[in-house]
Symmetry: C2
Subunit: 426 residues, 2 copies
Amino acid sequence: MIAIFNNPSRNTWAEIVTRPSIENNELETTVKNILENVKANGDKALMHYINTFDNPNQKSLTIETAEIESAEKEIATELKEAIKKAAENIRTFHSAQKEPVQVIESMQGIKCWRKSIGIEKVGLYIPGGTAPLFSTILMLAIPAQIAECKEIILCTPEGKNGKIHPAILYTANYVGIKKIYKVGGAQAIAAMAFGTETIPKTYKIFGPGNQYVTMAKMLVNKSGTAIDMPAGPSEVMIVADKTANPEFIAADMLSQCEHGNDSQAVLLTDSLEIANKTITALEMQLKALPREMFASNSLKNSKIIILNSISEQIDFMNEYAAEHLILSVENTDYFVDNVINAGSVFIGNYSPESVGDYASGTNHTLPTNGYAKAYSGVSLDSFVKKITFQHLTHEGLENIAKTVEIMAEAEQLEAHKNAVSIRLKK
Amino acid sequence: MIAIFNNPSRNTWAEIVTRPSIENNELETTVKNILENVKANGDKALMHYINTFDNPNQKSLTIETAEIESAEKEIATELKEAIKKAAENIRTFHSAQKEPVQVIESMQGIKCWRKSIGIEKVGLYIPGGTAPLFSTILMLAIPAQIAECKEIILCTPEGKNGKIHPAILYTANYVGIKKIYKVGGAQAIAAMAFGTETIPKTYKIFGPGNQYVTMAKMLVNKSGTAIDMPAGPSEVMIVADKTANPEFIAADMLSQCEHGNDSQAVLLTDSLEIANKTITALEMQLKALPREMFASNSLKNSKIIILNSISEQIDFMNEYAAEHLILSVENTDYFVDNVINAGSVFIGNYSPESVGDYASGTNHTLPTNGYAKAYSGVSLDSFVKKITFQHLTHEGLENIAKTVEIMAEAEQLEAHKNAVSIRLKK
């Protein structure tokens, strides 16, 4: 059911932590054609793909007010309250990320500062498919609003039943998104990158998706549109010692594995007993899941690593660079202090990943596939540019002139020097 | 010499602000081959490219201590002092970007925070070529050190004379870079992305370069290595009214244009008189430049835009999204408040771009080519990941349980729900 590695030697780690490769030339060609077609033919190309692949009867890209009103009625009061509570916590956590403008006077007469300004136009993508990911709308739209992005649009496909899931419509409307378009897949990404008659061009595109969406985001990124981050299958690593609870571990592993066929859960422990009990708990809990098929396929990608040395555990944990890292160990402080690579860290036995996925306030759009070595999760930063400003007085320029002139001359950039000199000749 | 657009109508703006396209399939194929060769053959491939294209006599990738000592002797005292002063200002400005850890208690028993952690391994690229860009070493290495990146490596090619420019060696040593490798071009980027026997693999690559370097960075980025930002030719926009000084404007335009054949300087003004006087000043100053050829080629890509309405100026300024934006206007506050898209902004008549290029403290690695609509310049942020942490007590989990359970169920993710429920059953 799940591969076990008992004290693997260091020279095997690189292979153990390698995620399945996602290179695919055929996919790239298919997606390139979609992008070019949407760029050239706009709405007409979108409707072609929608009517061919998603829904032969769909006529329009836009949402009617009646659809939103109807969604509102379909959502149970307790779900509305849960969404409200989650939104509050997400707003609290992300609002605290605002940075005040701080003016630095690096020398007398030289003032420099940075100012965060919201990216004017951002596009959010929410997939259709097997689970209606309305929580992702909260995770993306709320920081976009805190950043004061002026135009926030959302693309999501209709289901086969000709409807967008009411939880998606309700949440989008609840957080105040005014522009919702009924299109999914690579064509939705193309529309947000290039613009069509109906869908505005945006400067940065956020959100999860299948391999077509992921490839489309990579390709539009290469041609100039920013994206949230590179994507890969979701994953969790749980570091557990004898103080951990195998049933909790199994529950966390399965909550990762139910996402799809290609998720991965890794248990890193020094306790063979915990490992064995976790396997028993996995078998028990798996049977009760409605998404058992996904979970059991993903368990095949999953791993249990036994490492007896704490320092090896720390190194392995950082080498894996998990999207989600759960620390179910006695000495949490030591592990927390030594985390170098991770997307989001869940500390102790009462911090399951799912609280961060939905409602504690942290963002759930996180770097996976080892990207946590260089990338951060989505935050307020993801929705702003930090522009630097500087103002020099005549005196300030005098104070720094010689430094600039000497360096410019040494770089053989005479005109750079002259831009200073000419001002001081006056 | 330079194109003038007199009150162009809005529907022509998109074309005016479009930068020359840099798509090039042949280049992509060439660079892909280099990347694959270096990935497969490591140092051997590097030495092949070095000996074929750069220096047939180069034997080693590494620097001898003697070379650094010799560089130290070749650098004039006043240049050393200038580098020291610039480094101080850059350190002051970037140190102020450190963010204290701020713990948010979103609900009773739920604590969430972010911690900035330096990217473990970063690679800096410094081109050889026509000007020794030692200032870029300051701009990249200093924030990397403030971020506490553990491994900072630098690749730069030997010149045709078999030497790295002493200012580059001196500066790299001055800021404490211990690992300097003598290799340039796409092969240097490949080495830092994949690692070779001699050059360590890094997780994020920074620095400017020619079209081969730029393409290599785009391609390694697509396959998982982070990069500072997408690149394009350097550019400046100067917004000037009648209070501006045409000689200063011309000097700033030329300091941009001397970078290479493909730079661009844009003057945006409501004053035909300023425009005409600037043209005269450009002609005068151009003749005195050692890099006149570059500057005069780049002036051919450059533009003067006359717009009489201030609100149109603001809109055009944001539509262009300049890498460098100089505001030589009477009402600077109004313009500053309305900047949405720019890399770095220089305010008033005594703030030439070259002070920011070298020494005021702000970073000179900035988004060009219109990327300022979505990207920030390099800052301390570029060298860290911001990892989120959360710790819930049993009480905290109880407080948030219902919210998570209801949302997970609505997303049809039963195992996510169970990860909470199972903990509260105990």
